[in-house]
Symmetry: C2
Subunit: 611 residues, 2 copies
């Protein structure tokens, strides 16, 4: 790097710093000091190392940049201005109503593939992107993640460090902005770069310790990172929060607020600059790898056959992936329980073992879908809750991905409550734009797995551990947002889903003998709820019983209540109210009050009491 380049980078960094201060001042909020510490790091990356065609953000050959410290968004927007993507006027719309320059980055802005702002989310997604580059796209793009030092306290960061280190993701660089200060005070390690290096080295990373305000050292480190083989690189950059402005530099209490005197700060930085940078487009091959496809044979089961929906899921996904090369799957080290082993055997190249690290599993899926792949991330329903914040952030990222949770409900039996998904329907229903599906038999599972592939947003499919009889013919169709009327009666409508469909059907006969006839609705599409036929049945019978292997709050019963809200009918909700222990599946259903006998009792009470 010659003297001219060096001076230019110093000036560019100062411009990014000034623009960060200006944007936050215009907004009256934001995180300028967290932006200022990383200005040189990003100036050098932008001007000399990032390979992105800004005229074609979807070029598969583009590098990826993830602001894992999403609160440094002013810096990101200042970079977009410096590279001509936005103008100064737009920069100053930061955090305003309708502006795409939100408080934390969302994918409505070029260079931003995923939303960040929940710390510890960005790096795991960057790992997913690097994994995609290596094993799916098979393209030489580089993934750069700007990380905070404070966020290394998040366990999800260490899931990411471990995954990347073990996979040897040399196409990944974590640039850690060690500015010593978190939101509230000093970080645990302060400026102990060696402490970070020991940790990361032990996790298999190549580490470089630098002065994060020296463009020369940064340039060397970024070159070294790209050139390093077999290992991901972490650049440990010692920086000052609020660098360059004496009123805030390296001071506590200056996090997440605009500078008190922005004008003075800008003057101290030498005033605004008008530098522009032409970001270098990628030169490498621009076509992502495609897997060979072959005709699939959609699984079909005979009515009456006993098949667990978890097994049907695995088979359906494996078959679907024959026809569709973009389908990939991720496991949380339970594929032999979730049914996903069938996929793993059929498509080993598209199967990703994430070990027991559900957050990294979901983040990897988010990275994959950002590159156009169709990921299915699969674990026990109970353990997907470990990644709940990541699912929330995936929705903010407008990510399209499928989550599959097996072992839903008390019907798993003897393993006990820690293994039971009992809050999953509530948790995933409340995710913005989500679809929640809950099949009751193997044919229905297969059809829903197929349809889930082409939906948008977060799709959640819940499967059951035990074997259940096949109820539907193989050619039956199950539109998302539909339901099935399995039996029609006059006295009450029982709305069930998954395992409880079988209990509802079993209750119908004995009730008939008592002189009570029921309609049984299979609400396999919990969100959007298959409302039209369901509501018509509910209103014609005038009474509803909902029954679900889930907590009473936020699940099927609440979905039905909401659908009926404008013209309601009396409804009794059967759900799991107590804390289960160990017992056989049928005993669990009985003890929870959601089996055929409980349904009978509830219908009888409602009909006798209400007529």
């Amino acid at each position: 790097m010659d003297e001219v380049d060096y001076r230019f980078l110093c000036e560019l960094a100062t411009q990014l710093r000034v623009d960060s201060v200006r944007a936050a001042a215009a907004a009256g909020s934001g995180h300028p000091t967290s932006s200022m510490s990383a200005a040189e790091l990003m100036a050098v990356l932008l001007a000399r190392h990032l390979r992105v065609d800004l005229t074609d953000p979807r070029d598969p050959a583009n590098d990826h940049l993830v602001f894992s410290k999403g609160h440094a968004s002013p810096l990101l927007y200042a970079m977009l201005k410096a590279s001509g993507v936005i103008d100064d006027e737009e920069l100053l719309t930061f955090r305003g109503r309708g502006s795409r320059l939100q408080g934390h980055p969302v994918p409505s802005v070029p260079l931003v593939g995923v939303a960040t702002g929940s710390l510890g989310f960005g790096l795991p997604v960057a790992v997913g992107l690097a994994l995609t580059g290596r094993r799916l796209d098979r393209l030489p793009y580089q993934v750069w993640a700007l990380c905070g030092d404070g966020e290394t306290a998040e366990g999800s960061m260490w899931e990411a460090f471990e995954f990347a280190g073990q996979e040897g993701l040399a196409n990944l660089t974590a640039i850690i902005d060690v500015n010593r200060l978190g939101q509230r005070g000093p970080t645990r390690l302060g400026w102990d770069l060696a402490g970070y290096a020991r940790r990361l080295g032990a996790f298999g990373w190549h580490t470089i310790e630098i002065d994060g305000h020296d463009p020369g050292q940064i340039d060397y480190a970024l070159s070294d990172a790209r050139a390093t083989r077999r290992r991901p690189t972490a650049i440990l950059a010692r920086t000052c929060k609020g660098f360059g402005v004496s009123a805030v530099e390296d001071r506590e209490g200056k996090h997440g607020k605009p500078l008190d005197d922005a004008e003075q700060a800008i003057a101290e930085l030498g005033g605004p600059r008008r530098l522009t940078v032409r970001v270098t487009p990628p030169t490498g091959p621009g076509t992502a790898y495609g897997f060979a496809i072959s005709p699939g044979s959609p699984p079909a089961y005979e009515i009456g056959e006993r098949v667990a929906t978890r097994a049907a899921f695995g088979r359906a996904l494996a078959e679907l992936a024959n026809e569709r090369g973009e389908i990939v799957a991720l496991d949380g080290e339970v594929a032999d329980s979730t049914g996903l082993d069938t996929f793993a055997e059929a498509h080993p190249e598209r199967f990703f073992e994430c070990h027991i690290a559900e957050q990294q599993m979901v983040a990897a899926a988010v990275g994959m879908q950002a590159r156009g792949w169709k990921p299915y991330a699969v674990s026990f329903a109970a353990f997907l809750t470990r990644a709940y914040d990541f699912v929330r952030m995936a929705a903010v990222s407008r990510a399209d991905l499928c989550l599959v949770g097996s072992h839903g409900g008390v019907s798993i039996g003897a393993d006990g409550p820690s293994q039971m998904g009992l809050e999953d329907l509530a948790a995933f229903r409340s995710i913005h734009g989500s679809t929640v599906l809950y099949p009751c038999d193997a044919n229905q599972t297969a059809r829903l797995v197929e349809q889930a592939a082409d939906l948008e947003g977060i799709r959640y499919l819940r499967t059951t551990r035990g074997e259940t009889p096949v109820v539907y013919a193989p050619d039956e169709r199950f539109p998302v947002g539909g339901c099935k009327i399995l039996r029609t009666g006059d006295d009450a409508t029982v709305v069930a889903a998954g395992i409880t469909v079988h209990e509802a059907l079993a209750a119908a006969g004995p009730l008939e003998e008592e002189g009570i006839s029921i309609t049984v609705v299979d609400a396999y599409s919990v969100k959007p709820l298959g409302a039209a036929e369901l509501l018509s049945a509910a209103r014609s019978t005038g009474r509803v019983v909902t029954v679900e292997d889930h907590r009473p709050e936020g699940g099927l019963g609440d979905a039905v209540l909401a659908a009926l809200a404008d013209a309601p009918v009396p409804l009794v909700k059967l759900a799991v109210t107590g804390m289960p222990g160990s017992a056989a599946p049928a005993e669990q259903l009985a003890d929870a009050g959601i089996d055929r006998h409980a349904i009978r009792r509830a219908v009888r009470a409602l009909v006798r009491g209400g007529s």
Copy 2:
């Protein structure tokens, strides 16, 4: 250790192994091979190092043992039998209906303080117990955690390793059963003990690598762990899964199932033994430390004063802690935003900075409450979802703790959706036995913070970022399970909570001018919902509008629908259906359709359409 002792320990280990095989065989399910690998580790711990008075499990001086690998429950129950706590008959009730020997441990059994079974949960709780011993109880008990090797893939484990390493928790020992095999196949590191040692050493732990089947080495390591000062110790024990039975030893595909031929296996192990162990009771001081208390002065605010409920929370907790020495608080490095800084300044000894590690924060709280302290774990509502599985497991553990989530809803304003708690009410309502509180003003906040201290189970309190006017007098009472009728009308009932209470009140006047009178209900107790007066109001007006700064699923609206289910009235639910961007708080409420104008429109449409 002499030859006799050595032989006894070998025999005891074999007995534990045999009993694990027998228990799983009797149950027809369970994890005998995961138990067999750790039999010597636990035999030596039980016979020579654990200091517990089994006749008085609540003795404060007792050591703590946490089975972080909760699936090795047969081993734990075999230990209970060997120490005379249960008999052989009870051992064989393993996993049966009504047995306290569940598939995964729950606190209904002596020695078990918290439920485990969701991997990566136990060690962080053990860290919380060790922290409690050091900084709260100030007792010399030792905390032993039996960990799986596979679970080290969980990020939460590294939150725990980091926390314990930095705190120098020498009273904590992690015994890592490195049996090389996970559920589905080999772990990432296999038997690379040095790989684990490098990682843990970098995190500040003392490590010892041993043969986990040699009682002599184990005894040395456990002695060394207790004697080590200033650092926690990890014993890295190389073991074989299924040790001692050739049909399963170190073989894949043998996880989580009883042995095919238990009789043959027991014969190979030399048949059942009838050894008993007298576990040594603690000798040290048995009285936990108590903090000095002083008269509190419960905060009181003037009606009309503008105070953010997050600030009122911090002040209320700080005051409450003056009177109550058992109250402690944990921060996720956002105390300056959540209001908790007020507590931190007033009670530094009872304040725990957990940095940005929400899972460890919640787990530490679980550990503290297991020793009788009353923890409040506090972060943004959005970021508490990072610990959702831990909250679920806390409920399975019958834990009593308070979670406080600030920055609920879109009303935070410009920070954008990643920072908004919009799914928290749904998530925490669905937790078994939870209480969900959502105050709208400072006096109400203070009273709810006080009451929350003495409730059972998981209490979740949601606070608001912006300032809101005080509505209630300081002496007003707010029973949990109650609601407040703030205004009475004839035409419709508007049910609000938190920020939307103010919007509902603001809508009432203009509606009155239109000739529409409304009842306004402040549903500060979202779960249990203050149903009686609310329902009476709803039924007398015949129409309900619910309005919440939350997703439509699983929140306030669904709670009201459920309460009305048996005799419903038409209801319109106003909630956040779109994906917010950045904007000012009032703009956000308007854009989400939950402000005073939206309430007016909804009430008007309901009344005009319905009359």
